[in-house]
């Protein structure tokens, strides 16, 4: 794990991101980083465990609102805010996961979508007293300057998220290498065999579920800090497709896919919105197009290109993607 | 037909190679079936017998090779087209449409060819007459097999591919089926995959032996066909 080879992919990618920071607008870079973290949870669930979730916005919102409540009502330290939001995310994922992971994959997807709608509704109407409903919670001014890295300043926020990103990606890569990682893949490909080997599918799935969705919640916390504002819109039904599109775009199951996918998606969206102005049409077409062409996403194509240029593997190829043809 | 040209076989398989996923299951299979022949294919579990039948019937794609019936290429055709061309497959799973009655099962069998003459099927399996309005899900294993075969022979198929018909059935039903197959061969060419070696040796005109995906023998002489001989081959 300590070897340069192991870290190579991650460090090169993040190194590139730092370089890009000097060419591209800072807000774009910050958005890309946080969105990538949002997506990697979804990517992990789909690529490794085989679950697709149309409800990722729910977990994003839980994390975001957790942080928002803390900063609006209690304190001003953004780091603590992140911790609070993350804790909310972990607890929520665990409770929800107890029921959800028992379900078959199609029910799982649908149920998660319903969850996202419920959470939306809760934050918008039911808890409007404390969430201020559609107006959202504003707490930008509440964020105190902190020593070392002042999160209220975008450039330092960027550095913080960069470091966090490296750690998160390293964590996922590490998981992939462990027995747990292999179990996750096995739970997708052959659950019966796994049970016979003595593993509990349920525990594996639950753990993966909590890890993935806590990461998503963490992204929510980061969004909250970055924007200084949360609103129910982040979990509206229309937004459920975002992480899924990026996952597919970047390549299901690939470690660095979320980053590539996010850059492509955000970039395309910003460019296209000047022309189309109708992002649903755009997202829909991309999604269908990618699904039908099934080339392993952008990262898959990029990977093949790099392999041809440099020979040998740049990143270990992921197992069969979730979209592989049935045997 | 010009003198000297060979009559196209009812079923001819040449150089068939089939893989399931990354694993190759069938290697270079050559087989043929003439009209009115009963040919059995024997082999241990996992030898590739069902894969062979499924490939012929169109349920599995072949990597290479040719499958023809009466000169018509079957490769790449969807299963329902193969069935329409008169090559009918009876799977080994003993499944019938449980929610439908026996009558409705037979109706579906007739639908493709619009041949609603059920006499042949009912002559072979008179018991079906009594069971007409019973939901097929309530039939016993033997009755289901009868229904499956009865359904398949509607429309007078040229070739019948039957996958392990006697597995798990009582001896009385097995001997009944023995007679049925012999009668069937008078109208159709029959290829049966079986593990019941005495039965195979009793009714076959020829026997193919399949071992680990390869055709290891073809027995054409009646005196060759003894259970012991088959066992040794496998």
């Amino acid at each position: 794990m300590a070897s340069w080879r192991w870290w190579r992919g991650i460090l090169i990618t993040f190194g590139l991101l730092v370089a890009m920071r000097f060419f591209l607008p800072l807000p774009f870079m910050n958005e890309v980083l946080v969105f990538s973290i949002y997506t990697i949870g979804c990517n992990f669930l789909l690529g490794r465990v085989g679950f697709i979730s149309f409800g990722q916005p729910a977990y994003l919102a839980i994390g975001a609102y957790g942080t928002a409540f803390y900063l609006f009502y209690f304190g001003t330290n953004p780091y603590l805010g992140i911790l609070v939001g993350l804790a909310c995310g972990v607890v929520f994922s665990f409770i929800v996961g107890l029921l959800f992971v028992r379900l078959r994959s199609d029910y799982f997807a649908l149920v998660n979508l319903a969850l996202a709608v419920i959470v939306f509704y809760m934050f918008q109407k039911v808890l409007a007293e404390i969430t201020k409903g559609d107006n959202g919670l504003w707490f930008l001014t509440n964020i105190a300057s902190t020593p070392i890295l002042n999160l209220s300043r975008p450039s330092e926020f960027f550095m913080f998220v960069m470091i966090l990103g490296v750690l998160i990606w390293a964590m996922y890569k590490y998981l992939d290498d462990t027995v747990f990682g292999a179990c996750c893949l096995a739970t997708k490909l052959n659950e019966t065999k796994l049970e016979f080997l003595g593993y509990s599918n349920f525990k594996i799935r639950l753990t993966a579920f909590v890890i993935a969705n806590s990461t998503t919640a963490l992204a929510g916390c980061l969004y909250a800090i970055y924007l200084g504002f949360v609103s129910p819109e982040m979990t509206s039904p229309a937004r459920t497709a975002d992480p899924v599109v990026v996952t597919i775009l970047g390549g299901v199951g690939s470690l660095l896919g979320p980053i590539v996918g996010t850059i492509a998606y955000t970039g395309l969206r910003d460019v296209a919105s000047k022309f189309i102005g109708n992002w649903e049409l755009f997202v829909g077409i991309i999604l269908v197009f990618i699904m039908m062409s099934n080339s392993g996403g952008l990262y898959g194509s990029l990977e093949k290109l790099l392999q041809r240029l440099f020979g040998g593997s740049h990143e270990p190829s992921p197992g069969k993607s979730a979209t592989a043809v049935k045997q | 037909m010009p003198e000297g040209s060979p009559t196209p076989r009812r079923l001819s398989v040449e150089g068939l190679n089939v893989s399931r996923g990354e694993a190759r299951v069938l290697f270079d299979i050559h087989m043929h079936l003439g009209a009115n022949e009963i040919v059995c294919c024997v082999g241990r579990n996992g030898a590739g017998k069902s894969t062979l039948m499924k490939s012929i019937a169109g349920f599995l794609a072949a990597q290479s090779g040719r499958v023809q019936s009466d000169g018509v290429d079957l490769n790449g055709l969807p299963p329902y087209e193969v069935a329409r061309l008169g090559v009918k497959y009876v799977p080994q799973d003993k499944k019938v449409f449980s929610d439908l009655t026996v009558r409705e099962n037979l109706e579906l069998g007739s639908y493709a060819t619009q041949d609603y003459d059920w006499d042949p099927a009912l002559t072979f399996f008179p018991k079906l007459k009594i069971l007409m309005d019973r939901k097929a899900g309530f039939l016993s294993g033997g009755e289901r097999q009868m229904l499956m075969i009865g359904r398949a022979i509607l429309g007078s198929p040229k070739v019948l591919l039957i996958d392990e018909p006697t597995e798990g059935l009582a001896p009385s039903i097995v001997s009944h089926l023995k007679q049925v197959f012999t009668e069937l061969s008078k109208r159709s060419a029959v290829l049966i995959v079986e593990q019941n070696l005495p039965l195979v040796c009793a009714i076959s005109d020829r026997v193919y032996a399949l071992k680990e995906g390869r055709l290891v023998a073809e027995l054409t002489q009646r005196d060759q066909m003894k259970p012991k001989v088959c066992e040794d081959l496998l």
């Binding site: 789909l46 085989g50 697709i52 149309f54 029921l99 028992r102 078959r104 994959s105 199609d106 029910y107 997807a109 649908l110 149920v111 979508l113 319903a114 969850l115 709608v117 419920i118 509704y121 109407k125 039911v126 039904p237 229309a238 497709a241 599109v245 109708n278 649903e280 049409l281 997202v283 829909g284 077409i285 999604l287 269908v288 699904m291 039908m292 979730a322 979209t323 592989a324 043809v325 049935k326 | 349920f59 969807p78 329902y80 069935a83 009918k88 497959y89 799977p91 499944k95 019938v96 449409f97 449980s98 929610d99 439908l100 099962n105 109706e107 069998g109 639908y111 493709a112 060819t113 429309g155």
Partner: protein, 288 residues
Amino acid sequence: MSVQLLISGVIFGLSLASIYFLISVGLSLCFGLMRIISLDQLLYYSFGAFLTYSVSTLTGSFWLGLLAGVSVGVVLALAVERLIFRRIYERELTFSMITSFGILLGGIGAIKGFWGVVPKPVPVPFDNQVSLLGTDIPLYRLLVVVLAALVYGGIWLFLNRTIIGKAIRAGIEDMEHVEGLGINAARLFTITFVLAGSLSALAGGLYAPLIMVDPHMGLEVLAFVFMVVIIGGLGSIKGTLYSSLLVGQVVSIGSLVYAPLAIMAPFAMMLLILLVRPTGLFGAALAK
């Protein structure tokens, strides 16, 4: 709560159930036969509503609008089935889920582009009220319920008395066997898919006068349709009927008691049912 309120609540719930049923039965059939999750059904629902709006506004006749809505729904479904689904039937469920969601989303974008985002009203074809047990019930709502019941009857007849319907039922059990009998699978799939699309479009057209027609209407109904389908169990028509009725009543009566219950209650119910039966009340097992 007064009796009158309760009765109109029940009728309201029945009309909701009708709409949910029409969309869900299509979803269920598509799953049962083709093993796909066709989220794009909500797009045909939306188009059904929008075409009903446009044509009824143009011609002054609601029924003409409804006819247009269903027709367009049929054409769209046919196009989508031929161009897209036909190539992906062999894939895993998640594949069809994502792809159909993409179609739904893209279609919503198209609707937004064509009709704009402002919600549109569709006038009710007739205003009459009918008196039921001392309560005034809008006749149109009753009509919606009656039509949905007729559709259920029609579907029952189709599946149980016609040979194509029986082939579909047989295909839901085992498609391989159906093909082995020489029956054209591709055609069966197309028929089922287009049927589903037409029912969804009908739902949209019928519901249009009762709500404001807007591009996101498909997404708003999505969660409820999911809950109906999950509770009833994917692949079961009977299950869909019962769960539509159940969810319709829960949403309606629930919202009378305490507004947020409208969505919380069905969700809670769904979770409870899933705890006990992870495939819904009548769900089909996924064993191939």
